[in-house]
């Protein structure tokens, strides 16, 4: 690279774009996004549905519209981008190795780095679905790309395993495009995605949602000919005798997202085993100084608006780091997930400043109370594992409570769902 890069952002999805814009706004001179795909936007261009931006822009936008809004901002703020460029290594001193057709083999040593690689879908191998290995098994996101971007469809009759948001959205999309969706099969007793998607994507089109069911076998030699689905017991094991055959020519998988952290690991960034993403402090700084992270690479969000917000925090911090060559860790207090809480991000807070806690509960419930140590509590009429709980904690409250060392967050749940 010709001149010094202040902030390098890895990934040009909603997180990367927001981080880059925020870094420029915070004064970073040269901000470069490195993106593996052919265009900016990450998965936004293929998310042609609406429901984006309700919080961030106070408008109901589609994925491409949300993308365009951020690309316009990035352009006007003078963010640079390298496309079809793959970062193949990141070391503990922020050294980036990237390759691309156009730029060849590159070594970049930026002032700071923002990890914004997003997440990937769990594939068949990881789900361990027994059966044959025919064509017609793919993740919902891959199918979404084929149908919405490439202009091709993998089949005309579908079963969808997992009721994640992408799966439900694809159920509607495929139905509208003239295909038949036989069922969405969910192993848990509750849907994996948002309520609004369950209603508008499944109920609207009469697509059955089989809760506490799973696919136990894939049939077909060359192409998928059908799947066996069965009810599962409390241990999520198939109940013998409950199986039935559903004919289909495609099985889509929408059963979980995993933060994409291979680069983070190469740099030696500490990973939270629960979120699958880096352990971050309030400023979204990882355990490696000068390496920041935001968006789905940290935790899988359910609304893109929160991805943008989190990445902006990372981008601002990265700009500050690039400016001074250091940024004090905001790690005075470790936040620990307590009762009924699966995780809390950030894992470390300063204990002095205002902070927004993102968390997920382990089970759904009514009339829940989330308690942040002895500092504060908040009531929720309902909590669900599929919907992130977001809680603002005032610095003043933390200071007054004299929080030191560790801070546990618990959720008392009174009723079932």
């Amino acid at each position: 690279m010709a001149s010094r890069v202040d902030v390098a952002v890895i990934g040009a999805g909603p997180a990367g774009l927001a981080a880059a814009v925020a870094a420029r706004e915070r004064g970073a001179e040269r901000v470069v996004i490195i993106e593996r795909a052919e265009q900016l936007g990450g998965l936004l261009p293929q998310c042609i549905h609406n429901g984006f931006g309700l919080l961030y822009f106070k408008r109901d936008m589609t994925g491409p519209e949300y993308e365009k809004a951020f690309i316009d901002m990035a352009r006007s703020r003078g963010v640079e981008a390298m496309l079809e460029a793959m970062v193949i290594d990141l070391d503990a001193e922020r050294g980036i190795t990237a390759v691309s057709r156009r730029h060849g083999y590159m070594k970049i040593k930026p002032g700071s780095v923002v990890l914004a690689m997003g997440c990937r879908e769990r594939a068949r191998g990881a789900l361990g679905i027994p059966g044959t290995r025919p064509a017609g098994v793919m993740t919902a996101g891959t199918c979404q790309r084929f149908v919405n971007i490439e202009g091709y469809m993998p089949g005309s009759r579908y079963v969808i395993l997992g009721s994640g948001d992408i799966g439900m959205i694809m159920a509607r999309r495929l139905t509208l495009e003239g295909a038949k969706v036989e069922a969405v099969v969910e192993i848990m007793p509750w849907p994996g995605g948002l309520i609004r998607n369950e209603v508008q994507c499944l109920h609207d089109f009469g697509i059955p949602l089989l809760l506490e069911h799973t696919v136990t076998f894939i049939h077909g030699e060359e192409r998928v000919e059908g799947v066996t689905v069965a009810k599962v017991d409390a241990e999520r094991r198939p109940v013998p005798g409950s199986d039935r055959f559903l004919p289909c020519d495609c099985l889509l998988l929408s059963a979980g997202l995993i933060p994409e952290n291979e680069l983070s690991c190469r740099a030696g960034v500490e990973i939270d085993p629960v979120t699958g993403g880096p352990v971050v402090d309030q400023n979204r700084q990882t355990s490696v100084p000068g390496v920041f992270a935001g968006g789905n690479v940290v935790q899988v969000h359910d609304l893109v608006d929160w991805v943008s917000w989190e990445a902006e925090a990372a981008g601002r911090s990265a700009a500050a780091y690039a400016d001074k060559g250091r940024l004090k860790r905001a790690d005075g207090v470790r936040v620990l997930p307590g009762k009924n809480i699966r995780y809390v991000v950030p894992q470390f807070i300063s204990g002095k400043d205002d902070v927004t806690l993102h968390m997920r509960v382990t089970r759904p419930g009514l009339k829940a109370t989330v308690k942040v140590g002895g500092v504060m509590w908040k009531r929720y009429r309902t909590v669900r594992p599929s919907e992130m709980v977001i809680l603002e904690v005032k610095g003043q409250a933390l200071r007054e409570a004299g929080v030191k060392g560790e801070l546990a967050v618990d959720c008392e749940i009174r009723g079932g769902d």
């Binding site: 261009p45 589609t62 491409p64 963010v79 640079e80 496309l83 202009g151 609207d204 309902t382």
Partner: protein, 127 residues
């Protein structure tokens, strides 16, 4: 409409299951299960006049960018979703298109336009 119909309110993440009781004329006489006034309003609207924003694609004829994403400019009646989808298969857009450009005006007389949600061609690579 059946005398009792259950609707999941999507006004907020609470997702109340609201049961509406109707009389013979189809007038809603009671709503059970809604936690808030806003939800009641939403459910009544959903029963009387269910509307949705449709998002879809239309063809461009360009293999490097075969589909242009589109949406309805405002929500349309649920029953109109499939008829509008069939319309999307009939049109082919010509470049250049800007996000917000009308692809089909007043589609099937719903009062909503089908509008582009992306630029084509996309503005130059990089930013």
């Amino acid at each position: 409409m059946s005398p009792r119909e259950t609707v999941i309110c999507i006004g907020c993440p609470l997702g109340c299951r609201v049961t509406a009781v109707t009389d013979r004329k189809g007038t809603v006489t009671a709503l059970k299960g809604a936690e808030c006034k806003q939800g009641q309003k939403h459910v009544l609207e959903e029963l009387r006049n269910p509307v949705r924003t449709l998002t879809a694609t239309v063809r461009t004829g360009d293999e490097s960018f075969p589909l242009l994403p589109v949406r309805t400019s405002r929500p349309v009646l649920k029953v109109m979703l499939r008829p509008i989808m069939r319309e999307t298969a009939k049109v082919k857009v010509k470049p250049p298109v800007k996000a917000g450009d009308i692809v089909i005006a007043n589609v099937l007389k719903t009062g909503a336009d089908l509008v582009a949600t992306a630029d084509w061609p996309a503005p130059g690579e990089g930013v």
